[in-house]
Subunit: 313 residues, 2 copies
């Protein structure tokens, strides 16, 4: 077993939950007497920066690769394809996640995965279990993650547990849940200063299932038309990513939280899989997906199911 400080981090293209979990898990480890530090695997988005500013956290240091046998805790992610370079040779001490499982380890590890809306909801429970005080600052950053991941409780991934936890955390943080929540989400929807490549990079995840290399990128917006004014630029950026990363299927989703719809731009040589999965026909590479807001619960399972059917045929 490796010695030394535990590196705690979420997924690449970190969202508010990945950053929050890294901070709160490193703090939890410190409180129970273990040396640990939080890291980020990429740039901080505007929503996360708003949360960090509000609760007065510095952004974690950037981590771009791991030395062999580094002690790590993976939070809000368990897939190596969404983790840091060198993760294959790290010593994984613990995994706390709420995504599908796609993990192969050589030795047994401590893994807590629950199908809740936000990994920070699990972090809250771990603080309770270990009897570690949740300070107003810690409560604030946990709460930000729950608001972000559940889209203010509107996502189908949201559970009663996420909601109850958020309400408790708002009390500890001493803030108005809904007032702060909408300000936080609003902070993340401003894409005016981003290039096309930056827009599709804000919250982009790569998946490998069987032979398919899939990327699903998502942004939230209260004004889908405004996003689609920049369609040519976004398409060009997607084509560029497809070329350089050999992606088979790239799905870009602009999600309107309040309307609970997503409008997709889909490119690659396997767009038929998308069309089959959602029984739709792409027009100018786009489709409106009514009631679809969750990559994890709605997009990815539909794609995987379609792939599995294809294989069985």
């Amino acid at each position: 077993m490796a010695d030394g400080m535990i590196h705690v981090f979420g997924h690449t293209n970190p969202d508010t939950d990945s950053i929050s979990c890294a901070i709160t898990m490193a703090n939890l480890q410190n409180q129970i007497g273990r040396e640990a530090q939080s890291y980020r695997l990429g740039e901080i988005n505007k929503e996360t920066q708003y949360a960090l500013n509000t609760f007065e956290f510095k952004k974690p240091d950037l981590l771009s690769n791991l030395d062999n046998n580094t002690n790590v805790i993976m939070v809000d992610n368990n897939e190596f394809s969404q983790s840091v370079s060198g993760i294959e040779n790290a010593h994984i001490q613990m995994v706390v996640d709420h995504h599908r499982l796609n993990l192969q380890t050589a030795e047994p590890v401590h893994c807590i995965a629950e199908p809740v809306g936000c990994a920070s909801t699990i972090m809250y429970k771990l603080y309770k279990q270990d009897d570690v005080t949740i300070t107003p600052k810690i409560a604030g950053i946990m709460l930000s993650a729950i608001i972000s991941d559940t889209l203010m409780f509107k996502s189908p991934t949201c559970t009663e547990q996420d909601k109850i936890t958020a309400e408790r955390l708002a009390k500890i943080a001493g803030i108005d849940l809904y007032d702060y929540g909408y300000k936080l989400l609003e902070a993340g929807t401003d894409i005016s200063s981003y290039s096309g490549l930056e827009i599709i990079h804000i919250d982009s995840k790569n998946f490998q299932h069987k032979d398919l290399k899939l990327t699903i990128s998502q942004i939230n917006s209260s004004n889908l038309e405004e996003v689609f004014k920049r369609k040519p630029e976004i398409e060009q950026a997607i084509e560029q990513r497809i070329q350089t990363e050999n992606i088979d299927l790239f799905i870009f989703l602009a999600t309107d939280i309040l309307a609970a719809n997503s409008k997709a731009i889909v490119l690659g040589n396997k767009t038929d899989i998308f069309e089959k999965a959602f029984q739709t026909k792409l027009i100018s590479n786009t489709a409106l997906l009514k009631g679809v807001v969750s990559r994890k619960k709605q997009i990815l399972p539909a794609i995987i199911e379609t792939l599995e059917q294809k294989i069985q045929l």
Copy 2:
């Protein structure tokens, strides 16, 4: 999400922990108001039968395949290759395990994996968390699993938590831990009535790592010489398994708990991987592995590490 009764089961070639966890998890689900039933994925070994007899449990029904979308809870295992036919299309509700992780799901699942010596140690915690009474019978079967998996606390996989849990369970069950424990382990070492094929089947697990199809079979014995009197018969059985199942590397371990050694018979076309992993030379297909008693903690990681090095070269 699928409806209907939850099927609870451990791994194929069930050991005492797999049977115990299936029984105690199904009971836990029943106690919290969910319809669930325990199953076994193979014949009951003599040790497990001794435990079932002592605490007056009937053996669970045999399960040989699953209908699509059946609700399942996987206990003491998370690898499809060691599970029931049809598991790929089941609706996995929960996983409780203490082995390495090798699981790919389409959707998020509830997974509790801890690097403890026995999955029943985790089951004990779940009863406590859910505030469900542990009856003397349930305590007895949980305890049997811990004794079995940790080889009466002598395995390197055993943790302080396993030991403390076993002591608490012995009190609830109202039995003498060590007296019962050695009787239980002794019941499992009698191979006199088994054929060669049966001997290598008692506790045999299949692994697939990269291109390697690996089987590791293990028996406990207080008298390794007696086991090795039957070497020709065991070798013949292994060759037969290798042929019919296209196994690349078959490792059979006879483990002497008290001496903390294992004597291996190794066959297949990839025995060089074994020799490299343990820096040993097989003589007449055998090697003595001093201090090696755990498949999970000592054999499998060494093989995987060797494979990974081979790939990097």
